[in-house]
């Protein structure tokens, strides 16, 4: 049997909009994933530490404040610095198309805007996981 996908749903920065993060976290959980929700107002450093300690497969970030470029950038950088390069970094929020493309160039996965059906996010993560080498190994936890 496939093991459970481990996901960190993170709220980096000072943005307090957490409706989407909580709806997505609940949907991923109901789809059978192991979900850790970071809570609000996390620094990139704190989120990366959580991701490493919890040995997650997916880091899903929610940013609606417009701070997505620097925050995603910093988190990617910090994960790489810790030698983590096989997790999926995805997320959503108020993110213009042009920024989604730029972030894709930095190794960030698909980003979802307002109005996305939660099933689309679930499917995306499940498909990524099946194709990922991480699905072949037991989680360290």
């Amino acid at each position: 049997m496939e093991r459970k996908i481990r996901v960190l749903v993170g709220k980096p920065g000072l943005d307090g909009h957490d409706r989407g993060a909580k709806v997505v976290a609940a949907s991923l959980r109901d789809a059978g994933m192991e979900v850790i929700y970071s809570g609000l107002h996390q620094t990139p450093e704190a989120l990366v530490n959580m991701a490493v300690q919890e040995d997650v497969d997916v880091v899903a970030l929610s940013i609606l404040s417009g701070a997505h470029m620097p925050l995603f950038g910093r988190i990617v950088e910090l994960l790489h610095a810790k030698g983590v390069d096989d997790v999926l970094i995805t997320g959503g929020g108020i993110i213009p198309e042009v920024d989604m493309q730029k972030l894709a160039g930095q190794g960030v996965g698909k980003l979802f805007g307002p109005g996305t059906p939660t099933a689309e996010i679930v499917t995306y993560i499940q498909e990524w996981f099946r194709a990922s080498p991480r699905s072949q190994v037991e989680s360290g936890l």
């Binding site: 920065g13 000072l14 943005d15 307090g16 909009h17 957490d18 409706r19 909580k22 709806v23 976290a25 609940a26 949907s27 809570g39 609000l40 107002h41 620094t43 990139p44 609606l64 404040s65 417009g66 701070a67 470029m69 620097p70 925050l71 910093r74 108020i94 213009p96 198309e97 042009v98 805007g113 307002p114 109005g115 059906p117 939660t118 099933a119």
Partner: protein, 553 residues
């Protein structure tokens, strides 16, 4: 009217209607999941006593409106919420909006300002100037209102945790313009309870935060009498996913808590209650939203008069600002958002709003471009001048449906108040995460209905355009505001008289440990060019920080 005969005839009609007309598939519930009947008749409003429950506009219980002649006297204030980047950029946008007929200003601050951090704090990384304007000190406030005489404009500021600090900057900026604070008109949002419940921009734990709010209520009633020190807000509660009924009940419950705190400070309720104002969301369920605003007026008036003993009729009034529902806008086919916003704005006007913000069509993609912001303002002008809806007061009053809905929302709110009281009141409900959990559940339910297609959203789950490409321009905010603010702070700290700033902060710190009103100390800090981060940091040292409780969702 012969009710017995009406009832009999209604039953006859209903049987016949069911025989001859079949409803479409699906449920006929409001957007907040309230079951709606196919027809409303006098049977649904027979317990209404016109004089007791509706009355005349401008008179108790104000169900029909707070003024005798409503928009025949004065139109609502068209107040577009706006702010981004540096104070200089936002000042230019303000001049643009005022030049196009906007009648009041409304400041959107960025997240570091909302949470009490300076632009150069490590906590502000990435957020400076992004979803609002960065204001670090009195100097930024002076730039923000450059060329705008503060005695001639009313300004609303969406700021909560550090509201007293930004208010101090504003008063100091006015004084530097030569304006007497007694002539200042405007509103501070300053509703910290709903921050813990929904919007999440806080600085301190609830008790010291409430003390600062009562300090402002007290200070304004004496020194800035035309200022509304609080705008008790349902908007963020609704945007976080609540139903209309929860928005109404949670917000009024917050309002009553502020009233209790003011009385506990030793003030007479009529000293501060006339300056309390409100802020509602206007979502898409047209009639339910209007009913919510009507119910709010009636509940508040009754509680203020009968429970809190307010004698000044102005203390009984729900005067309110409305914003159309940001969460109703879609990223898909964004032009449709103009239509959604127009209907929501119309509902707000029919609900009797005193001021209104209409969202721009591009707000699910970024901050509004100048053109999108202008169309949003024009939407209000069309409602005001072309539709004829301002000719008469409360045009929907007396509609069987409207009055039944208003009663229903009122009943729901009174039941919710009992639940809150049974848990010890508003603050315990925040500390246990009850509000947060209730809202998260409602938002999940709504999302499930959208995902399953039970609830149709045009362009999202029906009438979808496959391969839709975006054809509207998006306002792009880069990282330059952060650099400008950082160098501005360096300059400020070098140029100000360090001894004055240090002394002002030391005095504030000492006063914070007593029960003295802190507002005069904050104004002195503002004049000494202390930064927001320094002031809040000083207070955090005394008051501590806040962390959200864990709750299920």
């Amino acid at each position: 009217m012969d009710i017995a005969r009406l009832k009999q005839d209604y039953e006859r009609w209903r049987a016949r209607a069911q025989e001859h007309a079949r409803d479409r598939d699906g449920e006929f519930n409001s957007i907040s999941d309230r079951p709606i009947q196919s027809l409303y008749t006098p049977l649904d409003v027979q317990d209404i006593d016109y004089l007791r429950d509706l009355g005349f506009p401008g008179e108790f219980p104000f169900t029909r409106g707070v003024h005798y002649n409503m928009y025949r006297g004065r139109l609502w204030t068209m107040r577009q919420f706006s702010g981004y980047g540096t104070p200089k950029e936002t000042n230019q946008r303000y001049h643009y909006l005022l030049d196009h007929g906007q009648t009041g200003l409304s400041v959107a601050f960025d997240f570091p300002t909302l949470m009490g951090y300076d632009s150069d704090s490590p906590r502000s990384f990435g957020e400076v100037g992004k979803c609002g304007v960065a204001v670090d000190s009195l100097r930024d406030m002076e730039i923000l209102f450059d060329g705008i005489p503060l005695d001639r404009i009313s300004t609303s500021m969406t700021i909560n945790g550090p509201a007293a600090v930004l208010f101090a900057f504003y008063v100091a900026a006015a004084e530097k313009q030569g304006v007497n604070p007694r002539d200042l008109r405007g509103t501070l949002q300053n509703d910290i309870l709903k921050e813990y419940v929904a919007q999440h921009a806080w600085c301190f734990p609830p008790e010291p935060a409430l003390r600062l709010i009562v300090d402002l209520m007290e200070y304004c009633s004496e020194h800035v009498p035309q200022w509304n020190p609080i705008s008790i807000s349902g908007y963020h509660i609704r945007e976080a996913g609540s139903t209309a009924g929860q928005e109404l009940a949670f917000t009024l419950a917050d309002g009553f808590e502020y009233v209790r705190r003011g009385i506990a400070r030793g003030m007479d309720v009529d000293e501060f209650a006339p300056r309390l104002s409100f802020f509602w969301d206007c979502h898409q369920d047209f009639f339910e939203e209007i009913a919510k605003m009507r119910a709010a007026r009636r509940i508040w008036a009754r509680e203020m008069r009968d429970t809190f003993g307010a004698k000044d009729p102005r203390s009984w009034l729900v005067r309110f600002h409305t914003q159309t529902a940001g969460c109703s806008l879609t990223a898909q086919q964004p032009e449709n958002n103009i239509v959604r916003t127009a209907f929501e704005a119309l509902a707000a006007v029919l609900g009797g709003t005193q001021s209104l913000h209409t969202n721009a069509m591009d707000e699910t993609l970024g901050l509004p471009t100048e053109k999108a912001a202008k169309t949003a303002l024009r939407t209000q002008q069309i409602i005001a001048h072309e539709l004829g809806v301002t000719n008469t007061v409360d045009p929907l009053g007396g509609s069987y449906y409207m009055e039944a809905l208003t009663n229903d929302l009122e009943r729901e709110a009174l039941e919710t108040f009992k639940k809150i009281e049974a848990q010890g009141g508003v603050v315990p409900c925040i500390e246990s995460g009850w509000f947060q959990s209730e809202i998260a559940r409602a938002s999940r339910k709504f999302q499930d209905e959208v995902d399953s297609g039970k609830r149709v959203i045009v362009g999202v789950n029906q009438f979808v355009e496959e391969g839709e490409t975006l054809e509207i321009p998006v306002l792009y905010i880069d990282e330059s505001a952060s650099k400008t603010q950082e160098s501005g702070l360096l300059r400020l700290r070098a140029e100000r008289r360090a001894a004055d700033a240090d002394a002002a902060l030391a005095n504030l710190k000492r006063a914070a440990t007593t029960t003295e009103n802190l507002v005069p100390y904050l104004i002195r800090c503002a004049h000494a060019y202390c930064t927001e981060g320094e002031i809040i940091g000083t207070l955090r040292g005394v008051f501590g920080e806040y962390h959200e409780p864990a709750y299920s969702f």
